[in-house]
Symmetry: C2
Subunit: 466 residues, 2 copies
Amino acid sequence: SHELIQRNWSTFLLVTVGVIAGLLSSSMDIAIFQLGVARGKFMHLVDNPFGQWCLWWIYLLIVLWSGIFFTSILAPQAGGSGIPEMKSIISGIHLKYVLGYRALVVKTFGITLALGSGMILGKEGPFVHLCCIMANCLIRTPLFRHIRKNDFLLQIMLGAACAVGVASHFGAPVGGVLFSIEVTSTYYPTRNYWYAYLGAVTGATVWRYVWNSYFTHPGFTSIVTTHFVPERSRFGLVELCIFALLGFTCGCLGVTFVKLNALGFRTWRRIMQNSKWFRSPYLLAFVFGTITCIITYPKLLGSFMALSPAAALSDLANAETWSETSLKSKEWLNRNIFANLFFFALSRFILIPLSILIPIPCGLFVPSLSLGASVGRMFGEISALLLDNTALLFENNPIIPGVYAICGAAAMTASITHTLSTAVIVFEITGNNSHIIPLLITVLVGVATARKISSLGMYESLSKLK
Amino acid sequence: SHELIQRNWSTFLLVTVGVIAGLLSSSMDIAIFQLGVARGKFMHLVDNPFGQWCLWWIYLLIVLWSGIFFTSILAPQAGGSGIPEMKSIISGIHLKYVLGYRALVVKTFGITLALGSGMILGKEGPFVHLCCIMANCLIRTPLFRHIRKNDFLLQIMLGAACAVGVASHFGAPVGGVLFSIEVTSTYYPTRNYWYAYLGAVTGATVWRYVWNSYFTHPGFTSIVTTHFVPERSRFGLVELCIFALLGFTCGCLGVTFVKLNALGFRTWRRIMQNSKWFRSPYLLAFVFGTITCIITYPKLLGSFMALSPAAALSDLANAETWSETSLKSKEWLNRNIFANLFFFALSRFILIPLSILIPIPCGLFVPSLSLGASVGRMFGEISALLLDNTALLFENNPIIPGVYAICGAAAMTASITHTLSTAVIVFEITGNNSHIIPLLITVLVGVATARKISSLGMYESLSKLK
């Protein structure tokens, strides 16, 4: 009977967390979108290109600095990804200070400001953390007194809240459940599974409904519409080898990415220790903000450089050869497409691992998806150039570069984070599942390569550095 | 170093199991298909309808009896589903006799004969068991001596082999991994996750390649092509309520299904104990074989009654309203579609739980999917009749009865087996993922209902009865 009461309250708790997380996540997405729109309007207050750049730059700095200010005065420990902290907490280490109300507020507004500024940052890591804080704060209220005293149940609820976080960030419930398993370090209590599933489905449903109502049409459809035609998505053995090669490349790049982040972190810490003048986080934000503004300025290399990670992913994953379709940035097609993809990939490869050093709540999941998508798209476009209309492909099925982009995206992020659930998350956010086998193989090869080269994924590396 | 050797050998083992399982599963599918074709040819040796029925009936009895004979002389313990046994073994109970070479042979040929006879049975449960036997037998060979002595590793390998079994039966790797988590009773070692994923992807890739090459075109596409149009698959809140109602109905039916099976089992055991004459398994097979032959005879109620579970699922999940599309059985459209669906559902609801009592390796997963699909399709057709062109649906998006069929299929099987991973398996075998939210919600409601009414799923019920 006591157990039944606990079970009912746990169910109620996770549905509550799911509903709040879904609403919060979609509200934050809308706020971030509106901040981006405001930035575009602000920039067009003047007419000459240099003036426009300055406004574009000033807007970024003001929003980003206010985020840092907000974080530093309320809860400095709430900066960064949050997933390393969650891993520690779920494996039983008490880090109570990262689960308080202050962190809740800072995370919510910090992520919104960090992403709204136009920096190439993500929301996933901090949002997962945010959901755990939410679950923890709810359990502390008198309403949930029945489940408060049970430490084991608290762990289960926090694990399930991780699943809710992922699910209501991407609308990817199954990926969320798998992610919550991977976050758990050694033994996963199978009781979690039901709770994680319940919360994840609730969160994903609410998020998809609000998100779709605001951005597209009401309904629960997937986020990245890939327009793959199932009948044409047939992959032969030759293509599988290319996918494996793509996985290997992403694995190597992923390890380099983590090492670049660690190098940046150490360099920054050395500067902090040795210099009185350069230790301010505002200065760090100024440096990377300015670099970001120069590189991503739409009128420099092309409007595609300014795309948000999610928009870039959607463009890159577009199934058809680009000339035929409508893109968020038409300038992908200007000049040389390979050069465009290369510059995009290079800029993201340098910007993302360094931007996440800024002490503001921020993640790297979706940004690294967009990085991987550009690498994958390059593979796809080159393969299409070399192999289309040759006997190496089955039944003259043309190569679909969008599938390579999706596989590259998943493999890159999976190699960086050492998590296999990335494959499922990416699979769920695309509107089609004919590409599941290439996707899983690319991710498998990527993660195997990354683990072989280095035992530290991004989250372990960040934990160790801190 | 020792651990590294073990890790490499484990990896090698699972890739081997994956490749063999993929090849074996597809070979069995082809053999079952050919046995069905042979049955059709055999039946048409005579011209008059009654003679045809007799041949149709004799063929079933001969093939089924030979399967039972084969099972009873070689390894009687290999009959039935196998998943209850696997659950016991993975939770640490030694049932060594169910993992030997004899069981391997009996399972392989037993399933093929059971399904090839034309009985409404499935291959999933025994095939999962088969993969575990395969892993166990491989570990016992001198090649894998490095990992043999480690009992903990053996458990992990068997758990991963379950994932391989599911993956190479449906070509559903993610569902396989989740299933292997659900089979584990209390704590899932997260090390399993990597191995399960590896084996599952290998198995699914090989299976999909061979299966597609034989039945459709070379490639790795999904099995049930649903032809949903993502742009039209938008579900509003009203539809979600109908999905929840469908889940509730499937939950209730699922519990009844399990109880019907238990009732049949107890009745049969009482007959066995009290009577000298009626205790033969051949008699049991004769009774259910004859009933099956009468009910599923294509010229009685319609050719749809004779469809194999997988073919029926594919027909029922067809997105469009049926008049427009090509079906495996055109006679769904004869007379009243609701009557046809009702007779199909009723026949499956009675046949499946009783047929699995026959002591031959057989499962119920895909058959109960087809049962659920007919219930779901009925919901979908009725909703379309009542709601289409009303203001209750968003933006005049028509109701897609195929989506209801898929959700019903998943919810029914999930309610019968008490496993949430069914949702993911069904999701993966369909060629589209715009329906994931309704699917997960239907399954969630179904499983919650079933668990609320009865604590015993099919596997627990079978374990307890034995």
